[in-house]
Amino acid sequence: MIGSLPVLAGMGNELRGDDAVGLLVLRAVRLMAPDAGRYVELGDDLARLLDEWRDAPVAVVVDAMAGGGHPGQIHVLADPGAAEASAISAHGLELSTIIGVGVELGRSPRRLIILAIEGDRFGLGEAMGPGVAAAIAPAARLAYNLLTSIARTADAGASSGTT
């Protein structure tokens, strides 16, 4: 049910090299733990997030970024504001915009974590680079740990709040 489960969202374009990493991390986690949360594959339509992550205890969003860092380097942004998130790659309505709209409309997750993975090959039809490919497994473990540990904390918090 929407709102009660943690959400893992993967963003990207599978036809643009390193940009596919968000989707591949999501699929790796889903394979590892199919019931750990709701899995949302995102292409161009990020507005879906406003429904998918609404009131979720935690949403982890994984995407590629072009920040000039070492390919495969993983950045963790905890509860970013709209401006902080704007460094992440854009797909139509940018993630930063969606975060802002979510705040305005009260359609945000309780915690939002962004895993941004540095890439440098984004051309149409390019293969994923080795540095980014090597980051898939550690990013998947990190995403899974964040998803489950924060959700547990949120559950505990919710429980303690009601006693």
Partner: protein, 429 residues
Amino acid sequence: MSPGKVSVPVLARLEGEAALDLKLRGGRVTDLTLRVYEPPRLFEPILVGRDMRDAPDITARICGICPVAHLVSSCNALESACGATIPAEMRDLRRLLYCGEWIESHVLHAFLLHAPDFLGLDDVLQIARTHRELVEKALRLKKLGNDIVAAVGGREIHPINVKVGGFYRVPAAAGLKALLPEIEWGCDAAEELALFTGTLPFPDFEQPYAFAALRDPDRCAIEDGLVATSFGPTFPPSEYEARFREEHVGHSNALHSVTASGEPYQVGPLARYTLNSAQLGDRCLSAAAAAGLGPECRNPYRSITVRMVEVLYACLEARRLVAAYVEPKHPSVAVHPAAGTGCGCSEAPRGVLYHRYRIDGRGRIESVQLRPPTAQNLRTIESDLRALAPTLADSPPAILARQCENAVRNYDPCISCATHFLTVRVHRE
């Protein structure tokens, strides 16, 4: 006015990347170029040598906003090449899928990208703050479109259920019928949002457009049809390239389309409305009239209202099609490859999308031609800007640039399809 130039380096709230360079001298436009600098995407050569059955899914990847349009135009063309006849129930399912795409694409553009222009707001963040109820309604309506696409197409973005000859699997009747209450809500919401757009302040900017849109004698053309124009006879898709030619222009990676006589023309909501409004039905026509539209519309700023009238039509069509839906016995008909050429069109949210394939006797693709609606509209967008710019010549550069952006946004251009899109520079000499 002093001579000079104005530059708008990036046009915002458009799909893709492009720029506008504008030179003005004494209030007169001396040069104007809409530069599409996104590199060519080369989908056509990618398809050459592949099996024809690959074409719908590959071309659908051109765009995340209008994949249904590419799926359907591609299938229409290939089925025509092979002489296949698609049963009415398959055509209806494609029409329903298309209704979902019209709803999600139009609502996204109208309320998250276009409406801020008329309300003096910068973006969707501001409109979410000032018109929360409106944006909530738009988001729910957009989700309805996504749900329809997912129910028929298998998933919301890049649906995977369409094939040459029909579908891979027919949707379960129970799943579709479960959408009816939300579709019913969608009809009312679309009507309300269309009426809201009629209250927006529109500039007086009627232009003498030449229009082209598909036409079906029995209903508003969406998933296929003949090509009707405001300037000549109706013709089949097989004559498209003879009636409309493409020109390379130095400043754009997207080709410009013009009529055979070299004139710009327009496809999309205004063309569909002006050529086919009589087929919209009483409820849509009443909403259109209440929102300030006559039987024709030649003011591009009012395209936001036309889009919402089309959303209402799509919701009503979805309700009719779902209510009448009975699972077909077979998801598709056999299509046997036959050497030849096939042309197909459908009405993408932004206008007529044309595909043409030549295949050999084994179904191997030998040549491809794709004409997305945004590329067909580029020359007309430039014409609008040429007409608009002199009226703003004395405005500060920031105002002028913003007004130019607004004029471009009237077309909801999809540069991903045209090859991608906008940056604006205005030069005053």
